[in-house]
């Protein structure tokens, strides 16, 4: 399980203790991924890394296109943000699209323009506008986050630890192929390209299956998010979403149905096949919840006399599988998930 967040506030070293001279840095935290031997757990990575490339990490958008943003003062190294081995994402920090995460695409960036994967939502029409603040963040990959250890590698996916990423309609299973010295899919051959640069998106979850070799424990650190998330999810479809913050939350507090448009409810578990759903991985299986017409979260296995499940806790860093039944506007839609904590300045 993921342990509770440990938050540490840092002050600039060597500054005299006068209010006018005190500078604050974003809080830094640590989290632990733990998977008992032989079991499977779900995870997300809500802590934020720093970018490693030159040029502005924070900026203001000076122009927006269908698939790019510009910052005329950025001074980025051309093509440095768009390399597969050093993937980045942009987080919008102000404006109506605040919290939106967009992966930098493989189209080479210029000194002032970054091309983005839009998740099928045109940037210019999705609320991103000139003047919005943004930051450029280094993303995790299979290689940079796990490397060749501490997950156990193997000759194939049945013997190695697995990392599974939800690909919209099915799982893609990755493992570290020890003989071939590269990350591979379960369906790959030795000649298949290395999957080392597969991104672990910050707004998505993934699953880890620990085959053996003892319990798995991975400690990682990063900045604590200081803003909520605006997450793109498929409608209709199923999306495996990170909630974007390293703190426990209940189903009732999350109130996911209020973070999106057109959430479909159901009268009872019998009719819940037609309702939108949230699924949480509970160590061995999915627990599936729907929102009843009366406004309380229920399991699909509940009968009419079951209590409200609003107090069910989603542990810190655990992603949720969101299932939307109907098409609504017919394009991917947004879920605006606020932080469930505040950061004191």
């Amino acid at each position: 399980m993921i342990r509770s967040l440990i938050v540490t506030s840092l002050l600039t070293a060597g500054v005299a203790a006068r209010a006018a001279d005190v500078a604050y840095a974003p809080p830094v935290g640590g989290m632990t991924l733990s998977v008992p031997a032989g079991q499977t757990r779900s995870f997300a990575l809500p802590l934020v890394h720093d970018s490693v490339v030159s040029g502005a990490r924070f900026g203001r958008i000076t122009a927006v296109g269908s698939n790019y943003i510009e910052d005329s003062l950025a001074g980025w190294t051309p093509a440095a943000l768009s390399t597969a081995s050093n993937p980045h994402y942009v987080r919008i920090r102000s404006g109506s699209a605040k919290g939106r995460i967009l992966m930098v695409s493989s189209t080479a960036n210029t000194a002032s323009r970054i091309y983005l994967n839009t998740d099928s939502v045109d940037l210019a029409t999705s609320g991103i506008a000139q003047g919005d603040a943004f930051e450029v963040v280094l993303a995790d990959t299979l290689s940079t986050f796990f490397g060749s250890g501490p997950l156990s590698g193997g000759a194939d996916a049945t013997t190695a630890d697995n990392v599974q990423i939800w690909a919209g309609t099915s799982w893609v299973t990755y493992y570290y192929n020890t003989p071939n010295a590269k990350w591979q899919r379960s369906t790959d051959t030795p000649d298949s390209p290395a999957r080392d640069n597969i991104v672990l998106r910050p707004d998505r979850g993934f699953m880890i299956t620990r085959r053996g070799g003892g319990d798995l424990s991975i400690r990682f650190v990063g900045k604590v998010p200081d803003a909520g998330s605006r997450v793109v999810h498929s409608r209709p479809g199923v999306s495996f979403l990170s909630l974007g913050f390293p703190r426990d939350i209940t189903l009732g507090e999350l109130a996911f149905s209020t973070r999106v448009s057109g959430w479909r409810t159901a009268a009872d578990s019998i009719s819940a096949t037609g309702a939108d759903k949230i699924q949480v991985w509970n160590n061995t299986a999915w627990t599936i919840y729907y929102l009843s017409d009366s406004g309380s979260w229920q399991r699909i296995t509940d009968n009419g006399a079951s209590p409200s499940r609003n107090s069910v806790v989603i542990p810190a860093g655990r992603p949720v599988m969101v299932s939307r039944v109907d098409s609504g506007s017919g394009v991917a839609t947004f879920a605006d998930i606020p932080l469930n904590y505040t950061i004191a300045n």
Binding site: A84, S106, N117, T118, S120, W166, A167, G168, T169, S170, W171, V172, T187, D188, T189, S192, P193, R195, N197, I198, V199, S234, P236, G237, V238, A272, T273, G274, K277, Q279, W286, I288, Y290, I300, M321, S323, V325, D326, S327, G330
Partner: protein
């Protein structure tokens, strides 16, 4: 008919253009026509043991739910940028409850999903529905695709998925007329020739 030769030429032009368009179709899966398929049932899904290949089609029934249960992997496809439509041919079963059919393309790093509404198809016959696609993934490295209802395997809590798949293809342009239309066009050509010959005979 003033000068039927122009009519004939126009019709031949239509037929020629149509024949050319038919060459710009890439069949990804014909579900058994010719005796083989490019795909297979995905293990761990509710479709395992609930599908049957009839020789020309894939029937999904039994206790199959709306997770995605069929995929083709490790493909060597050409550059797909020339194809702008995804065409799916299927017939619904009367007891189908799934509302969506998803076709997902995979370039090895990113995925792109096309959504077909079940209501676009019928239970009475095989229907072909084509949906335009604007590629957001790399069209030169698409290596896999899958099809189904899209729910988390093994589909717990999702509707029953009951239908028979006939064909999955990519088209460069809006889909070409059905073969029956070819017959109609050729019939028109023949009629034009007959009229022309009669006119020539009368003039003589």
């Amino acid at each position: 008919m003033k000068n039927p030769i122009y009519t004939i030429l126009a019709v031949l032009g239509i037929v020629a253009a149509t024949a050319t368009a038919s060459a710009q179709t890439l069949v990804l899966e014909d579900f058994g026509d010719g005796g083989s398929t490019s795909g297979a049932v995905i293990s761990g899904t509710s479709w395992v043991g609930q599908t049957s290949l009839t020789g020309t089609a894939l029937s999904v029934g039994g206790t199959a739910l709306s997770d995605s249960g069929w995929s083709a992997i490790n493909l060597s496809l050409p550059d797909l940028s020339a194809y702008s439509y995804v065409s799916l041919s299927l017939q619904l079963s009367p007891d189908n409850a799934a509302t969506n059919i998803f076709v997902t393309f995979d370039d090895g790093f990113d995925i792109q999903t096309v959504t077909f509404l079940a209501s676009s198809f019928t239970t009475s016959s095989v229907t072909t529905v084509s949906i335009p696609i604007t590629w957001s993934i790399s069209t030169t490295t698409v290596e896999a695709w899958n099809i189904g209802g899209g729910a988390t395997p093994p589909g717990n809590g999702s509707p029953a998925f009951r239908m028979t798949f006939d064909n999955l293809a990519l088209n460069a342009t809006a889909p070409i007329p059905e073969p029956s239309t070819y017959a109609a066009l050729l019939g028109l050509v023949a009629l034009g020739l007959v009229c022309y010959r009669r006119r020539q005979t009368k003039q003589a």
